[in-house]
């Protein structure tokens, strides 16, 4: 059978991509419950920011020190969607018995791989924006000098790059019994290693290396720059590093996905527990 031309294959990939986005939305069970939506978008960011802001205030941090922590946590809350939910896509397939069906589809793998997580990237950005709203309304962070387009770019880009990071973990989950364990670790680890609550330089050297491998570290830096009034040009380095680290983890995740898919096909152990 003759292989379709490049244009046809691109159109097919686009179709797979858009249908995967729709499926990603439909597969998100909690989105059928308004209470769960409220919990994830309204409550979660508020309680996380509150915990660290009150703690910092209790220890005696200055107002600017507390605000540093508030902004960091506001962006980090996107991890619930971009890391935890995305990482668990593969595990959900295993639980629901849909993995073998997915594996035999001739659909473009990259479109499928990214498409199913794309909805979560949007949700992640929305969570971070709501959290930044809290930081202004409840925690005294001033956005008077903020470069709003730059801030939006930083949030959306970080939503996408952290989604890529979530996909890397999801790929590992294809090999493991479940990705939930690793997802749990990385959901919270960025609070420690990505400059969310204190500068990365305060960490031991080996932990700094972990931090610099995760896009969140650069996203937090870019967000703080945007709030301080930096233009997109001045944010270019941080955003560039964010995009670069995101591209690296995406490529790595995709290669791992392909490798584990080949392994699963060869051994016939798609869903072995």
């Amino acid at each position: 059978m003759e292989r379709p031309g490049l244009r046809v294959r691109a159109a097919q990939a686009a179709q797979v991509f858009t249908s995967s986005i729709r499926f990603g939305r439909k597969g998100t069970v909690i989105w059928d419950s308004p209470d769960m939506i409220a919990m994830q978008i309204v409550i979660l960011p508020l309680v996380q920011i509150s915990f660290f802001a009150i703690l910092a205030g209790y220890i005696g941090y200055t107002a600017s020190g507390v605000q540093y922590i508030v902004v960091g946590n506001a962006l980090q809350t996107m991890s619930y969607a971009a890391v935890f939910s995305v990482a668990n896509i593969t595990s959900s397939d295993k639980w629901q018995g849909t993995l073998p069906t997915l594996m035999v589809t001739p659909a473009n793998r990259m479109a499928l791989f990214v498409g199913r997580a794309f909805f979560q990237a949007g949700l992640a950005s929305l969570m971070a924006l709501v959290a930044l709203g809290y930081s202004a309304a409840l925690f005294g962070v001033s956005f008077a000098r903020a470069d709003v387009p730059g801030l939006l770019v930083a949030v959306v880009v970080t939503g996408l790059t952290m989604m890529s990071f979530g996909l890397l973990i999801s790929s590992i989950g294809l090999y493991l019994r479940t990705a939930m364990i690793v997802a749990n670790v990385f959901l919270f680890l960025t609070m420690l290693v990505s400059g969310v609550n204190f500068p990365v330089s305060a960490l031991p050297g080996w932990l700094q290396a972990v931090g610099y491998a995760i896009p969140m570290t650069y996203g937090v830096e870019a967000t703080r720059l945007a709030i301080a009034g930096a233009s997109l040009g001045q944010m270019a380095t941080a955003l560039g590093e964010d995009v670069l680290s995101g591209a690296v983890v995406l490529a790595l995740g995709y290669l791992l996905w392909e490798a584990f898919e080949r392994l699963a096909r060869r051994t016939g152990r798609f869903e072995e527990y």
Binding site: V29, I30, S33, M36, M39, Q40, I43, L44, V47, Q48, S50, F51, F52, I54, L55, A56, G57, Y58, I59, G60, Y61, I69, W95, R177, M180, I181, N184, V185, L187, F188, L189, M191, L192, N197, F198, A202, L203
Partner: protein, 262 residues
């Protein structure tokens, strides 16, 4: 009574076997309190004196709490995943006794987790660990353990009816850290939140633990014995509420027949 005791024992034994068969599930249970602790202790890094021991104690309590909350959620959710929900409900013993065994087991793991975090905190951040009154400290810790179990039991009733157990337990983890004053006094919370804090038994237990451990610590200001009394009263209420809810929930679940419906 013997049957109930046997059910609790068997349930604890089964929980232990499941953990030993698949110990990786310990990681999500301990990771959040552990990382929260590390972050909190890093925030305390330029501080010295008794406040550091205050933080380390709070860290240990977060470890206990996190495991209890997460474990309560998974004690019923795991049945759903494994397809054993109906069989468990059809057992000739009220469901609550089976869950009691699981919750006690989870809280025991929480105790170990809390102790491990405490040791790591003391060693890594070199806070030292000298307790003012060790017997009172031990008593408060054991009773707080009991109170955590009762709170976990109440939480678990929600998970019998809801398919969102995992999500709920993930979502309430940080609120319970905040509300019970693990890392800062509850008096710093907004006034509207404080009544909730004071209605949670372990809030008083945490205060009693600190009163017994830290020299000159007054905390809520009610004193050690009153703290314990309030916590025990709350614990008794939780147990009564949990048993009442389980009877209702079990009846509802059997009548509707929608336990595993998604």
């Amino acid at each position: 009574m013997t049957n109930r005791r046997q059910a609790v024992k068997a349930s604890m034994y089964m929980s232990m076997k499941l953990l030993l068969a698949d110990p990786q599930w310990l990681i999500p249970v301990i990771i959040a309190p552990f990382i929260f602790t590390l972050v909190a202790l890093f925030l305390y890094r330029d501080v010295s004196g008794p406040i550091l021991l205050y933080a380390v104690l709070g860290a240990g309590l977060m470890g206990m709490w996190g495991t209890t909350v997460y474990g309560s959620g998974s004690s019923v959710t795991t049945d759903r995943w494994n397809g054993t929900m109906e069989a468990t409900l059809a057992a000739p013993i009220p469901l609550v006794w089976i869950v009691v065994g699981r919750v006690i087991w989870n809280t025991l793991i929480g105790l170990v987790n809390g102790a491990a975090i405490l040791v790591i905190g003391v060693l890594w951040f070199r806070t030292g660990f000298s307790v003012t009154d060790p017997p009172l400290f031990a008593l408060a810790t054991v009773l707080t353990f009991l109170s955590l179990s009762s709170f976990g039991l109440v939480l678990s009733t929600v998970y019998v009816l809801s398919r969102k157990g995992g999500f709920i337990s993930n979502s309430i983890e940080i609120p319970v850290y905040i509300a019970t004053g693990t890392m800062f006094p509850v008096i710093l919370l907004p006034l509207v939140v404080q009544p909730v804090s004071f209605a949670i038994g372990p809030t008083w237990g945490i205060d009693a633990i600190r009163v017994a451990a830290l020299p000159g610590y007054t905390g809520i200001g009610t004193g050690y014995w009153l703290d314990l009394l309030v916590m025990l009263a709350a614990t008794a209420c939780y147990f009564a509420l949990a048993f009442y809810l389980y009877v209702r929930v079990e009846r509802l679940a059997k009548r509707n027949g929608t336990l595993e419906e998604y």
